[in-house]
């Protein structure tokens, strides 16, 4: 793509041309930009800029890569009055996200038990292609999950009430309409609650190996050498089906409202229309399923740790540090042109990063800001960061969501065999348990960008500030 201008050390602009309603803005270093130009992600940033009612700019975080419709790492805010909501700006895995569990354990205490803990987690949490779980729900109960999210799980003794206090929105979106998801979406999700799935989803046992901001780490309950567990999964089959169902609705809506789009995957509906409102209600139902999913998994992670280590909940003290999703559309208030304005913020592979003092940050963290959880690849670090005022001003309170892919899955699987990768990771003292060696190869660390570089660019750009680095000890892959 031509005409891209460098606006600052880590910021680039795609000038407004053709059908674009706003410019595109990409956060990346010079070296990263060189690589980003190689696939079609920038073209997708420009396509998103053509959405009706988009405000500010079509944004991309440093982990940007070619997706479908929106790029992964894409952010777009649309005006409530004349803007649209686009299911493609959320993706099929609605409310895919990350939960981080802190513990009272230090690595040296459990080092010899890590392989046994990896085995226990692999047994406790169903993973792999089309994995079905230990919970089987009828339609009426699925409606309750859609309505209550993680609260549903806690009410059924999968965890503690305290867990909800440190989840985004208290573990559920109030805007869910549980009657909207189709029979097929219910059918797709009814046996999948409490499952990891496959692809890039994982469970990881980690060690806090570096602290960058002691005060914030203390408020988040993190300390050096501490054992943490990261859960990365989403709304499974029911989310995919809800997205699919509404893309059909939106295709019709695009025709009816005379909207012209550069890519059919960007199909959308006015936020003020019935189909726009209904999509948001159904999407929130899937988002709540995802939150219940991560809550049920949390419960089994705790059980697996207690059983394997022979300890009780008070010794383990495995609390939820935070639960944040990176595929979602939310109605939020932001300052645009000096005026507080309600907009619909689409985050597709991008993480909310609200600053200190924001009312949506849990009370416990309000003095420092919202925890931002950035998973790395297996074999590389993950990060805990904190949201900033700068992010509120520049990116609708958003930062990166992970390393971001750099190589296709087929190419990765060609370059290394799953068994060989497994051995390499084991030799580096990372216990790996997987349902599929091919799946493992597709997720090889070299298929991703350098997570350190991605996190550093966000830190330097002031979108999120580094708090702690987490080193993998064991990985369970679907």
């Amino acid at each position: 793509m031509d005409g891209i201008k460098k606006l600052g050390e880590n910021l680039w602009e795609i000038p407004r041309t053709g059908a674009m309603n706003v410019p595109g803005r990409v956060y990346a270093s010079e070296a990263m930009m060189e690589r980003i130009r190689r696939d079609r992600a920038l073209e997708q940033v420009a396509n998103v800029a053509a959405l009706p009612g988009i405000v500010g700019a079509s944004l991309a975080m440093p982990d940007i890569h070619w997706g479908y419709g929106f790029p992964i790492g894409g952010v777009a805010a649309t005006a409530m009055e004349d803007g649209v909501v686009s299911p493609g700006g959320v993706g099929y895995d609605i409310s895919c996200g990350v939960r981080l569990l802190r513990s009272n354990l230090i690595k040296s205490e459990v080092e010899s038990k890590i392989p046994a803990l990896a085995d226990a987690l692999f047994r406790a949490v169903p993973s792999g292609v089309g994995s079905t779980g230990r919970i089987h729900l009828k339609r009426e109960e699925m409606k309750k999950v859609f309505e209550k999210g993680a609260r549903w799980a806690v009410e059924r003794a999968y965890g503690d009430r305290e867990d909800l206090e440190t989840c985004e929105e208290g573990g559920f979106l109030e805007s869910a309409d549980p009657d909207l998801p189709s029979a097929r979406s219910v059918e797709s999700g009814k046996d999948q609650l409490g499952t990891l799935g496959s692809g890039n989803h994982f469970l990881e046992i980690q060690e806090v190996d570096e602290i960058y901001d002691e005060r914030t780490a203390r408020v988040f309950g993190l300390f050096p050498g501490q054992v943490t567990v990261m859960v990365h999964t989403g709304s499974r089959g029911c989310g995919y089906q809800i997205c699919d169902d509404y893309l059909k609705v939106m295709r019709e809506s695009v025709r009816r409202h005379g909207i012209t789009l550069p890519d059919p995957q960007l199909s959308c509906a006015p936020l003020s229309s019935r189909e726009g409102r209904e999509y948001l209600g159904a999407m929130a139902s899937a988002a709540n399923f995802a939150r219940a999913n991560r809550q049920a998994i949390t419960h089994w992670v705790r059980e697996a740790f207690m059983r394997t280590l022979g300890v009780g909940p008070n010794d383990l003290r495995m609390g939820v540090l935070y639960d944040v999703c990176h595929n979602v559309a939310k109605i939020e208030e932001h300052e645009i042109g000096g005026k507080r304005t309600r907009v619909c913020v689409h985050r597709k592979g991008a993480t909310r990063a609200f600053p200190a003092g924001h009312p949506d940050v849990p009370e416990r963290y309000r003095s420092v800001g919202q925890p931002v959880l950035i998973p790395g690849t297996m074999g590389t670090w993950s990060y805990v960061a904190v949201g900033t005022e700068r992010a509120m001003k520049e990116t609708f309170g958003t930062t990166c969501h992970g390393a971001g892919r750099a190589m296709s899955r087929t190419q990765a699987a060609k370059q290394i065999e799953g068994h060989k990768l497994w051995k390499e990771l084991e030799e580096r003292n990372i216990s790996v348990r997987t349902a599929s060696y091919r799946g493992l190869a597709e997720e090889a660390p070299f298929a991703y960008k350098d997570v350190n570089e991605v996190v550093d660019v966000c830190h330097q750009a002031g979108l999120s500030l580094k708090v702690a680095r987490l080193k993998p000890l064991a990985v369970v892959k679907g």
């Binding site: 696939d39 992600a41 890569h65 070619w66 997706g67 479908y68 419709g69 992964i72 993706g91 099929y92 895995d93 792999g128 292609v129 089309g130 097929r184 059918e187 797709s188 799935g197 496959s198 692809g199 089959g237 995919y240 997205c243 699919d244 893309l247 059909k248 295709r251 019709e252 025709r255 890519d263 059919p264 995957q265 199909s267 892919r405 750099a406 190589m407 296709s408 899955r409 087929t410 190419q411 599929s436 091919r438 799946g439 597709e442 679907g478």
Partner: protein, 138 residues
Amino acid sequence: MRPGFEIIPHTADIGLRVRGKTLAALFENAARGMTSLLAEMKGTGREKSANVRLSSDGPESLLVDWLGEILYKFTVKRAAYSRFKVTALSPRALSARLSGGRAGPGLRALREIKAVTYHGLKIKKMKEGYAADIIFDV
């Protein structure tokens, strides 16, 4: 002879380039291609079959719906098929027969496909038939 489908690279997901001398052949090859990404069929025994009837707003969305239907049978009904016969096809409607199906232990899942996307989807009419690039979210 060129195969009816081939994998094309995509950074995050998986793509298929599908060809067919006729539109019906394109749909059949797309189904074979997607199934080859999803599962391996093994063993012998009773084969499953099924009929599919769909209508949509145009050939591209009909192709997405067709593959979506086969994907649904795989992910929810846990059945995959090896033979696909489109028996009637218009730009907005399709009837087909799926056969050579396996379920349960006769099926080895290879990967999860979350969905068939519309991203850049365009069925192209060429001198030697039809072609389309389809991106799957995995």
